[in-house]
Every structure is written in structure tokens, then in C-alpha cells.
Symmetry: C2
Subunit: 420 residues, 2 copies
Amino acid sequence: MTPSVPQINPDRLHQRIADLAAVGAIDGGGCARLALTDADRAGRDLVCGSMRELGLAVSVDAIGNVVGVRAGRSDGPPVMTGSHIDTVRTGGRYDGNYGVLAGLEVVAALNDAGLTTEHPLAVAFFTNEEGARFAPDMMGSLVYTGALPLAEALAVQGIDGATVGDELARIGYAGPAPVPAAAPRAFVELHVEQGPVLDREGIDIGVVESVQGISWTEIDIRGTSNHAGTTPMSMRRDAGWAAGEIIAFVRELATELGGDQVATVGRIEFFPNLVNVVPNRAVLTVDLRNTDEALLQRAEARLAAHLAALRDAEKVEISTRKLARFAPVPFAPEMTDRIEGHARALGLTTRRMPSGAGHDAQMLAAVCPTAMIFVPSVDGISHNVREYTEPKHIEAGAQVLLAVLSELAGAGLPAGDRNP
Amino acid sequence: MTPSVPQINPDRLHQRIADLAAVGAIDGGGCARLALTDADRAGRDLVCGSMRELGLAVSVDAIGNVVGVRAGRSDGPPVMTGSHIDTVRTGGRYDGNYGVLAGLEVVAALNDAGLTTEHPLAVAFFTNEEGARFAPDMMGSLVYTGALPLAEALAVQGIDGATVGDELARIGYAGPAPVPAAAPRAFVELHVEQGPVLDREGIDIGVVESVQGISWTEIDIRGTSNHAGTTPMSMRRDAGWAAGEIIAFVRELATELGGDQVATVGRIEFFPNLVNVVPNRAVLTVDLRNTDEALLQRAEARLAAHLAALRDAEKVEISTRKLARFAPVPFAPEMTDRIEGHARALGLTTRRMPSGAGHDAQMLAAVCPTAMIFVPSVDGISHNVREYTEPKHIEAGAQVLLAVLSELAGAGLPAGDRNP
């Protein structure tokens, strides 16, 4: 057949998103597919099935990353797109899933048009991007690019006590493909913004120039449990009070540093956790992010100094554990220029911006030219069942992805036809 | 036989304490016998067995309070002593248990001496004094004295979802004796201080003049869960931050009010409780105590005002629930004078003091002349497996209890023989 100009099929794309959202669906329209759970396995099986239906050669590596390759006229490293399909416990249906399924829609569009690209085209989804069950997050892409040793990742124990290696084997996704993998020719990740900027400013496409640096610290405080009624305030070693004081400090720290600095205490536990007992232990996590490495290090130093002061003031013992640490990552200018150019050629409004969230793309950026495409998240709501992106933006993002991947892979389209 | 002067038997008392401590024993020498659990049932069975061995007429009422009565020469209301045998999850072996078992030792001593008192003598233990599983605490004595309707108490749901009524029936302690019960002639409760005062000052016996007022509030905060990396601090409705801020405020409040005011946040929970998600819900408890009702009300008002301000500042919803509220309780002067007199006659040093903890005695004080005897707690450690009271103090407290109960019940001892 004569090759025609590839077009994404909106209905087909929306249907794929709905089908995957039905796996691990929770009240409110969201998804709960924590990494390597049975729900994650079901989601993986669904996407792998679609990959095979589209004629992709599917491979699974030792950390459970899945790559589906569409052959090109020549061999060599593929142009790759992809994201993740694991979710947080109260996740939405677009986070991660959208980028993977839009990648499949690009393949479907090329198939429909009967186009073979010069270079192979790959669609991937990476294991445990969220880090909601196993730390660090972005584990699959870390191992894929050689930034985290496989053995170390497999040994990680989750919040429920299970280990990555055992769970991978249990769900049947400990594959034979080697890691670290050969570097792709280029990598493009399409994702919902997960923040309020594009939605608030009414812009169609975010051209992501960098990813915020991330610092996750678990703080374990030990005091003395004692009767809540008979122990004078001055004689307490209250691990719970110390935890509360850290929560209050972390907010002050972020407000004071200003700029892109954000700080969150999302997880906490008291022991013995009884109304009339002074806690003898408290465990909490602090999530610090900044686009500027120097400022992020300053925030970390300020937190450490505060913990030292608190240790002396309340006579509690405080130990800390780094759960994750990533420096800010700049993307390749030639890639961001390309995304911006195609988006504008398609008549879409664009904005250059950093990513406030961590993404697999930041790991790929270490081994190949990489960039990201953002579409608006209504009210910036993310990691929440109310996460939502309008269909027109879902479609626009996929169109930009098709155009960028077609050019990178060498679909041989006349420039005039590229953006009909 | 000829009546002799009653003497407590130290070895027998220490053995009874050790035997009960073996039920629900946990590492470190403590006990875990949360109210109405299987461990509580086992403890109850052991103490009821001892009561029967001592010839007491044992009755169980509808809320599971157990009363063992030793007949007197005349009928009428008994002189009563007692406490509780339930513990917190990380409880010691003396809290509550000591008062009940010392009461049994008093009965044993009277039996040894072949003495019959004028008035009946009763030893009781009351259900769910700790409130660690079911709120409010002191539930058994509240129902016993008519301060809490039976039906309301039976319907209370515990932190594990079970209800008081179901658990009472399950462990076989929903008894036939009616509540509210007839008022005793007088009530004396012997207890470890659970605070550091007597130990620090090297005093043998605390003559308890009053019990601190207690206010327990559960605070439920609702915000919006959101991505920890992409949500500007200014756009957050962070339930977790609000909780931490309350913890910090409560400490400031207690420090500022000074005096006997204490304030504790012992229990907290975040939802969804993930490192990279802004909590959309936090639930915590605030325990406020003061010996002065006016100051306690001021502390409650200050907390309420602070919650209102926090609600506006962070745009979170905050609802509160009173888990328990007791005004400070003064004890009968003629009873405290009696305790002080007997303690001094026995050559023991004494100190008048308030109780920082809630006790069943404060409920009995509403229906009959009541007071409490305290013995030192080493380092004031309580609600902790390291709770400890020296044997000499355990024995001294029991001797005072014997002397006071003998006089109240009319053992007919010549004054000279009372304290050999």
C-alpha cells in the first residue's frame, strides 16, 4: 500500500486509557496498582497484549521493565518513548499510563499509515516509578540505565515487607533481557503535568527543560514512652512532639527558601500510638525538591542542623535514612527545541517549564538525548483519584509525540505533510 | 481461735503480683492486657480464683466489674478497696494490679488473724480503666457509679472495631449484677504514683488529695491529597502539616500555662500515608490535664481557637470529638487524714499530692467517702515495661491499706495494737 500521513486515532487512545484504568480501579475513577502487586501484574499483562497485537517485539528485563520494539529499515538503537504503569495507592488513570498508551497509539498510527521508519521505534514501561511501595522511585529506569545495581534493587524491601526480587518472580516479570540495557537513540516521555501551571495559564503543551532534584529522608526518633498525665513537660523525651516539630519546621523551611522549593511530610507513624502514652518512637518521611541543586543541598543542610538541635533540646535519639536522592536533570536543548517546533507547527500553545515530579526520562537523559512533553492537569490534582486531563489535551499530546517520534525515527515524511 | 493482730505477708503479695504479671507478659517484664482481650480474660480468671480461695463472695456486673465481698458482723454496704487489672499495650506489672492484689492481701491477713470486721470488706476490679482500647477510660467505674449509662458503654467501638458489649460476652464477663451498684460505705484505692514526685523526693507514701481533670479530644483534619513535587506550598491544603502544627502548638500551650498543666499527642494517623503524597486526612488525639478546672477549660478554649485559625489558614476542614472529659476531683478530707495518720503511725514519710492520672477512685468519690494511697514509681516511668516500684514500697503501701481498711471496716483492734 502507499504510505499515507500517520494520524492518531482519538477514540482508540481514549479506549486504551479506559481499559487500563479498569485494572485496579478504585472509587472516584482512580487506580490502585502499587508496583509488583497482582493489580500491577494485570495491568502489565494488558499492555503487553496490546504491544503484541500491534506487532511489537516484546522483551522483559531482569528488573521487570518491558520494551516493545517496532522494527525499522535499519538496525541499531531504537528511538524510544514510554513511561510507567504503576500507580500510588490513590492514583489517577493518566499518570504514567498516558505516556505508555500514547506511545502505542503512535505505533498504531504508523501501522495504519503503512509507514516503516528508518530507525526502530520502541515503547517502554519501567518498573516501580512511583516508589509508593518500594524505594527508591524510578527504580526500573535507574537499573535500566545502570545508575542502580540490579542486585541492590532486587533486595529492596517494601513497606509491606515483601522484596522486589520476590515480587517480580511472583508476578512473572523477572525477565531475561540484560540490564543495564543498550542506550536508545533518543528518548521522549509524554506525561500529564501533575501540577497546576499549564491549566492555570491555559497552555496546551509544556516543553520540559529539566526535572527537579529530589531528596527523600526517613527520620526515626526514639524517646521514652511515659504516662501522659503524670510526667511534667520538662521531664519528657517525647518522640511524637519531635516529629510534629519537624513537620512544622519543614513547612517554614520551604516558605523561607521560596522559589521552586517544596517540602512535604507524607508518612508518619507513632509508637505505641495510644492517646494517653507519650510516644517513645516516631518515624516520618521528608520529601524535599528543588530545580536548583545548590538550593536543594541548602535545604538538606538546614534540615540536618534542625534535627541536631532537636536531638539536644528534647534528649531524643534521631537517626536518618536517605530513601532517594536525585540531582536536578537538564534535558537536551535539541530535543526540547524539536518538541516546541512540532507543537507550534500543530497550532498548539507551548510553555517551557521544569518538571516538579521525578520521571523515568531523567534517568534516560544520562544515556541519550532526552526530553519530555507535558499536557495540562486540571487544577494540578495528581496522585489523587480526581486527577483529570481533558480529552483535547490528551489528543494534542499524542499528536506532538507522533510528530516528534516520526521525525526522530525517520518516517521519511515530506516536511509539508508532517503537520497536516 | 483468738484473733491476733493482722499482718500482711510480703512474699505472698509479691508472688501474687508476679503470677498476674505472667499473664500477657511482654518483653522487658511488662504486661499487655488490653481491656476485654483474651489476655484480660486470663487475668480476670486468675484474680477471681484467688478471691474464691480467700472465701470472698464474687459477683460480676453487667459492665464486667468484679467485686469480691468478705462478710462482716453486720450487713450493709461494704468498705471497698480496688483498682483495675487491664493495662495499656506496653504496660507495667504494678499499674492497677497492685491495688487489687494488695486488697486481696489485706483479706488474707484478716483471715490469718481470724478477724471478722464489723462491716463487710470488698475488693473490686473495674473494667477498662486504661481506655487504651475503648474510650472513655475508667469505663467500669463510670458505669458502676451511674455516671455513664450501661447501654452507651456497651455500644462503644474500640480501636480494633470490636464493641464493648460483644467483647464482654465473648470473654464471659457480662455478669448479672446490676449497675449502677449500691454505694460502698467508703472506698480506698492503693496505686503506684506513675509519676516522678515521690521517687525524686524520697517519700514513702503519697496521700492523694485530688485527681487531675482530663480532657481527651480526637481531631480529624481533611485537606486535599496532591503530588508532593508539583504543588506549590501556597496551593496546598495539607492535613498532615496541620496535624504537625497542632502537635507543636499543644506543647507551647502546656509550657505557657505552666503549673500542673500537661498536654500530649499520643496517637496520629495520616492518609494515604505515602512519602510523595500530600496527606488529604490526618487524625490525632490531644490529651490535656490540669488539677484546676478553670485552667483546664482555658486550655481547651485555647486549643479550639487555634484549630479555628488553622482551619482558615490552611483551608482544611477540622472536626473534633471528645473522647473523654473529667473535671478535677477532690477527695474526702476525713479519708486523707486517716491515710496520713496511719502511714505516719507506721513510721512512713508522707506527702500530700494530686494524682496526675485518672483513677477509678475519682468515680467512686461521687458516691462515697474516697481517697487514694500512692507509692513511689522509680523515675516516674509508667505505661512502659520499665515501670518499677521497690518491694519495700510495695509492702509499705499494703500495710497502710490494711490499717486504713481495718479501721474503716471496724476490725475492733485496740488502738495500741493497730500499728505494732
